[in-house]
């Protein structure tokens, strides 16, 4: 009610309204080589993954603002065809109505990507987006529905309080009825933050993250979180024992340490180490695959309720070209599981063909057996696409 009053006041005092829009059209084709010997997805009967697909997608940005009020809309319209099915979607990926109540205070309502931390591989400090969208890198992360109050008393501090009403576009409404408090502080060469998220009938999510620039070349960063998981699949090392499911797991820690080096030419190298105690040990992961191989029912359980990462310890290396260059960009990522020894190599390249048109390629190679995390479902994947900027 208060927000509505404030907004109508801001509308009445129209001031100088500015509007803008832009958009991007995407067309891309994907092909992946599914494992015929997959333990988790035998004969592709459980996950029913599409060996190939073509997608047309449009993403728009609309903005209208004056000195006090800003409305942003980001709708996405998508049509995808695969060997087996066709999908059409139109949804609000993000939208927000923001009111500048004072110089230091902002109120906002909408759907927003509340992502945290600077890590690339995974974000332990981010309650909503642990995988940073890596599960489906072609699709954009969509927001969570929230009412948000932000207080910026000065450049160095931000306090945010948010009421999460729903998980947004995604099917599972995991974050409905949550409260989030976030505090950030920035210094000359560093920034740090902490976040507390409390969802009804679930243990609190507690996290912290920080970054520190040693000099122009070196950046150190880290994230740490303490959390529980709902519907947690337990895998004892003794594979003769069945899977068990805990409605809520024990509280465990997930942490990441990272180091980035930027060369004089703007290219950068990142190295990250992740430890996720929610994952399985080597013995537990071995037993996990053993049980999954025993029956389709077990395979379905294994696939549906697996932790976000099967293993506990990972090394992630990244090389990328200068992010600020607009005409071309390339990125190589190597992820090694220290738990099961598996590797995943991913490459992304983008080049501008004209002022509006860019072509891009994403390729992933998963080296390993059917009983290693990265290679358990597919051996490789390639996506080729074109994007056109509007207007």
């Amino acid at each position: 009610m208060l927000l509505a009053v404030l907004v109508s006041t801001a509308f009445a005092d129209e001031g100088d309204w500015r509007t803008s829009w832009d958009g991007t059209l995407y067309g891309y084709a994907n092909r992946q080589s599914l494992r015929s010997d997959s333990v988790l997805n035998p004969a592709n009967q459980i996950a029913r993954l599409a060996p190939s697909s073509t997608t047309l997608e449009s993403r728009f940005n609309f903005k209208a603002e004056n000195e006090a009020l800003r409305l942003t809309l980001r709708p996405i319209v998508l049509a995808q065809k695969s060997n087996q099915t066709g999908v059409r979607e139109a949804y609000w990926s993000q939208w927000q109505l923001r009111l500048r109540a004072s110089e230091a205070l902002n109120l906002a309502a909408g759907r927003e990507v509340l992502n945290l931390g600077v890590a690339q591989f995974r974000s332990p400090s981010s309650p909503f987006y642990f995988d940073n969208g890596r599960a489906n890198p072609m699709r954009e992360l969509s927001g969570v529905d929230a009412l948000k109050l932000s207080w910026n008393p000065d450049l160095q501090h931000t306090l945010m309080l948010a009421r999460i009403n729903a998980s947004g576009h995604v099917a599972q409404n995991t974050w409905r009825d949550s409260w989030l408090v976030k505090l950030d502080q920035r210094g000359e060469r560093w920034s740090a933050g902490m976040v507390v998220l409390k969802t009804a009938q679930r243990g609190a999510f507690l996290a912290t993250q920080g970054q520190f620039s040693l000099n122009d070349a070196w950046l150190m960063y880290g994230e740490l979180a303490s959390s529980t998981r709902i519907n947690s699949l337990n895998s004892l090392p003794d594979s003769t024992q069945p899977f068990t499911i805990s409605s809520e797991s024990a509280r465990k820690l997930t942490g990441l340490a990272g180091l980035a080096y930027t060369l004089e030419n703007g290219q950068s190298l990142n190295a990250e180490y992740l430890h996720d105690a929610h994952g399985y040990t080597a013995a537990e992961e071995g037993a996990y695959f053993q049980r999954a191989a025993a029956s389709h029912q077990n395979a379905g359980l294994a696939l549906g309720l697996a932790p976000q990462l099967l293993g506990r310890d990972f090394l992630h290396l990244v090389w990328q070209t200068n992010l600020m260059e607009s005409s071309r960009y390339a990125r190589l990522m190597l992820t090694h599981s220290l738990t099961d020894g598996g590797d995943e190599l991913t490459g992304y390249g983008e080049i501008s063909v004209s002022e509006r048109v860019s072509a891009y390629l994403l390729a992933a190679l998963n080296a390993g057996s059917a009983r290693q995390e990265f290679s358990s479902l597919s051996r490789n994947s390639v996506t080729l696409g074109v994007k056109v900027a509007l207007p």
Binding site: D22, V118, S213, N215, A260, T262, S327, R356
Partner: protein, 242 residues
């Protein structure tokens, strides 16, 4: 009697020819490049050349004060919406479609010879210790020559030789040096724009040409639409960049 008259005349004459204060000169020069103001917004056109290779033109909208800046890409169209946020020595890049803001190093320059600090408002008075070393004529314009040494490590350059017009008190030329004294780049400035501030019309930078000292490369920055505008702290909040 004659000696007394000479002494009295010197008392009136000497102050008129007293050397100006370096700090005051820098403050006046900064204002013509966005510094010392509650905030300033402007549009910028960037054209970079490396030998015969000409880079694609970029257009930015910049909001800046002494401590922070946000530069948003307007063109090329395919990069529209990309934002570079600078707060103290921290920098982040956001872009539609990115899962979250990415920290950026000062080594990842936006365009050609222009560092990210060149795009934002200038605060040489706060960032550098200045000393007037001489006067010199640049293209027929008499200038004070100041040697600037960085007060802290947040600065873009370690040392600057800055040529400030005697008449207009605006920076006309700059030479940027490394800590060892090696010349890195030179810059020339034009002031065909004006801004209104506290009832006065102040000249404002319209063009800056930065040339590399070692190779044949330059970046031209053209400034337009400049106006003084108080920028709230929340405009520089990473959590509100999208």
């Amino acid at each position: 009697m004659k000696n007394i008259l000479i002494i009295i005349m010197l008392c009136f004459v000497s102050p008129a020819f007293a050397e100006p204060d370096a700090q005051t000169l820098l403050q006046h020069a900064d204002r013509a490049r966005g510094g010392g103001l509650p905030g300033v917004v402007w549009d910028m056109r960037l054209l970079s050349r490396d030998g015969d290779k000409v880079a694609e033109e970029q257009r930015l909208r910049v909001s800046s004060n002494n401590e922070a800046s946000v530069a948003e890409v307007i063109e090329p169209v395919r990069s529209k919406g990309t934002k570079l946020l600078q707060v103290e020595h921290n920098m982040w890049l956001t872009r539609p479609g990115l899962s979250k803001p990415i920290p950026v190093s000062p080594r990842q320059r936006m365009s050609g010879q222009a560092s990210n600090g060149d795009i934002a408002a200038t605060n040489y008075a706060g960032d550098y210790e200045g000393v007037i070393v001489s006067t010199e004529s640049i293209d027929g314009e008499s200038c004070y020559v100041l040697d600037l040494t960085a007060r802290h490590k947040r600065t873009t350059y370690d040392k600057i030789r800055y040529y400030i017009s005697v008449k207009g008190e605006v920076g006309v030329k700059a030479e940027f040096y490394s800590l060892s004294g090696k010349l890195l780049k030179t810059a020339r400035f034009d002031y065909a724009n004006f801004i209104e501030y506290q009832g006065r019309r102040i000249p404002f930078v319209s063009r800056m040409v930065i040339r590399d000292a070692l190779i044949d490369a330059e970046t031209i920055m053209e400034f337009g639409g400049a106006k003084v505008k108080k920028i709230t702290v929340s405009e520089f909040d990473l959590g509100q960049m999208q």
